[in-house]
Amino acid sequence: MAVLTIRDALNEALREEIIRDENVFVMGEEVAEYDGAYKVTRGLWKEFGDKRVVDTPITELGFAAIGVGAAMAGLRPVIEFMTWNFSILAADQIINHAAKMLYMSGGQFKVPIVFRGPNGSAYQVSSQHSQALEALYANFPGLKVVMPSTPADAKGLLKSAIRDDNPVMFLEQERMYGIKGEVPEEDDFLIPLGVADVKREGKDCTIVARSMTVPMALQAAEQIQNEFDVSVEVIDPRTIKPLDVDAIVGSVKKTNRLVVVEESHAFASVGAEISHQIMENAFDYLDAPVKRISTAETPMPYAKNLEALALPSVEKIVAAVKDVCYL
């Protein structure tokens, strides 16, 4: 096993897929000569040149459309949004075009494209640069949504996303790019989309977390174990859509308690969907109402203290677990 950061794991995935398939190319703002705003594409332009790694003007709608059209015509574009906040300018191409194409064409035109970049908050970058958008895109049939939380998942899932014949929204997190972890060195390391992972086994309470909230949930689980001798299971769906409902339901049937932690807002969120799935599929197994920890229902404030207050935290997760366990 090699120890890599999430940033470098993503970089390896891109590199391997560029080599493996001549139709794969990477496009976005500052991805080539600048090595990527967050250095995920570091070295790729030097190695593969202008054809495979392409800098764009600041024109999100335009280059997202180039990606959609190129994908319909047989290529496999990987389109980087400098952050997912800017994907909102390209939402028309993603939602009205990429997501609809296969269906509208009666199954004739597939759109094998990956849109990727950092999602959610960073460090005090304020209202317009801190949004977690997975629930928005997950709401539309025709899109897959992926959110890795470890270097191995990042690599294996990105490679699968690039090979997938559907539009895949691949949401990373800026705060996590430097996180290190082991990544299998096997030749073609893939993780299938749509399969959850148990990040920590436990028997008394389930936490479903994704992206940035996974390390928080693990820390909270550790703390609860030490303080109360309560064993918490942490499940990371990894793919938001399609969602591995069975894995979550199975865990809740075992622990009888559920806390969902997410960086997006609560209203109409992925957490709301998970809560519903549990009500539908494991209602009789619940020993307490499902709890959710989300970002406050406000645009993200700039001030350091308010930003911290708005976001999920280990303390908030611990408190929620204590609540559902009646501790």
Binding site: D55, G62, S126
Partner: protein, 377 residues
């Protein structure tokens, strides 16, 4: 000294910026066609040829106004240098985009406005906020994320606002404010209020669809807006020539039959003159104007930019035409101000910045109750 401190030595190909691809005989509608240039040598030659015009403009202007213009430029420079300093100390978080090198644009244009006129801009907004009348205290405290900030610590560096002073904000989505500014002009026309809008954005924002959509509507509906493109030649690490097929931004206005002018952004009097002509058009019949103002960004794009995409030589060459130095030279030659006056201005600016820092250091963090306010009214 933060001057170009974020720049590392590099062999990047940025080197010399190619000549503007546009032909020089394209005529600007309603204005005298200004020369276009991208290369710094051309710029120097052009400026030297025009210097008599700057001196003549100074001669015709009120001395107090000239002094205030210089003061605002110096204040802007010192304020931004201080931002860089306290940013490195961790007192400012998030993104922080500085205006150093572009002061003549904000001062030359905004000081032509009536207080009731409206301004909207990008995230590079600290200095423009102050020129519109916001106190250095309220801007610095916002950068600190404190209660005393102009938006109570909620916005930070990129989002300065003042409704009282008709400052409609710094905006973080590249190009977004071009559309919003056009809507503000729509309201001015609707209400027949006589206000005009100054709408600032960078050259890279011109590649967004909203620029083209907005200019079309503004000309179609004769909206009283002046679009000021601050062409500092880079959008983050991408030079204009790597991102724009046709390099004259001013002439893009011709596609909409909109008046336009190319202006030297290192010459504060030239910016002032071009803005005057544009405002006259706007007030007369609501005609919009596009000004392309050639500038240069001395610092990195933001405080986190290593700047590997351009050479130190390129930066130093542009700094030879520093807008503050040029203006001082002309003021001195015109006997408007002398060295002692300059010293006094420096002192006043430094004092104002020190007061802003002290105020911000002492301002408390916003109360936790602020988190949930202002979401809906």
């Amino acid at each position: 000294m933060p001057k170009a401190a974020t720049i590392q030595k590099t062999t990047a190909s940025a080197g010399k910026v190619a000549k503007n691809g546009a032909s020089k005989n394209g005529k600007a509608l309603g204005t005298a066609a200004a020369p276009e240039f991208a290369d710094v040598d051309d710029a120097i030659a052009e400026y030297n040829a025009r210097r008599s015009a700057q001196l003549a403009a100074i001669k015709k202007s009120d001395k107090k106004l000239l002094r205030e213009m210089l003061y605002q430029m110096v204040l802007g420079r010192r304020f931004e240098e201080k931002c860089a300093e306290v940013y490195r100390m961790g007192k400012i978080g998030g993104f922080c985009h500085l205006y150093i090198g572009q002061e003549a644009i904000g001062v030359g244009s905004m000081m032509m406005l009536e207080p009731t006129d409206m301004v909207i801009t990008s995230y590079r907004d600290h200095v423009q906020a102050m020129i519109k009348g916001m106190s250095p205290e309220s801007v610095m405290a916002e950068l600190y994320g404190r209660e005393g900030g102009c938006v109570k610590g909620k916005g930070g560096s990129m989002h300065m606002f003042s409704k009282d002073l008709e400052f409609y904000g710094g905006h973080g989505i590249v190009g977004g404010q071009i559309g919003v500014g056009t809507g503000m002009a729509y309201a001015a026309k609707y209400k027949n209020s006589g206000q005009v809008v100054l709408c600032f954005f960078g050259e890279a924002a011109v590649n967004q669809g909203i620029f083209h959509e907005s200019l079309n509507m503004a000309q179609l509906w004769k909206l009283p807006i002046i679009y000021i493109c601050e062409n500092n030649q880079y959008g983050m690490g991408t030079s204009q020539k790597r991102a724009m097929s046709s390099r004259s931004i001013a002439r893009k206005a011709e596609a909409f039959e909109m008046a336009n002018e190319f202006v030297d952004g290192m010459d504060v009097m030239a910016v002032r003159g071009a803005t005057r002509r544009a405002i006259e058009r706007a007030r007369k019949d609501g005609s919009p104007t596009l000004l392309e103002v050639r500038a240069y960004r001395y610092m990195g794009h933001s405080m986190s930019d290593p700047g590997n995409y351009r050479t130190r030589d390129e930066i130093l060459k542009y700094q030879e035409r520093d807008p503050i130095v040029l203006f001082k030279d002309s003021l001195k030659e015109s006997k408007v101000l002398n060295d002692k006056d300059f010293e006094k201005i420096e002192q006043e600016a430094n004092d104002a910045v020190d007061r802003a820092v002290k105020f911000s250091d002492e301002s408390p963090y916003p109360s936790e109750a602020e988190l949930l306010t202002d979401v809906l009214t």
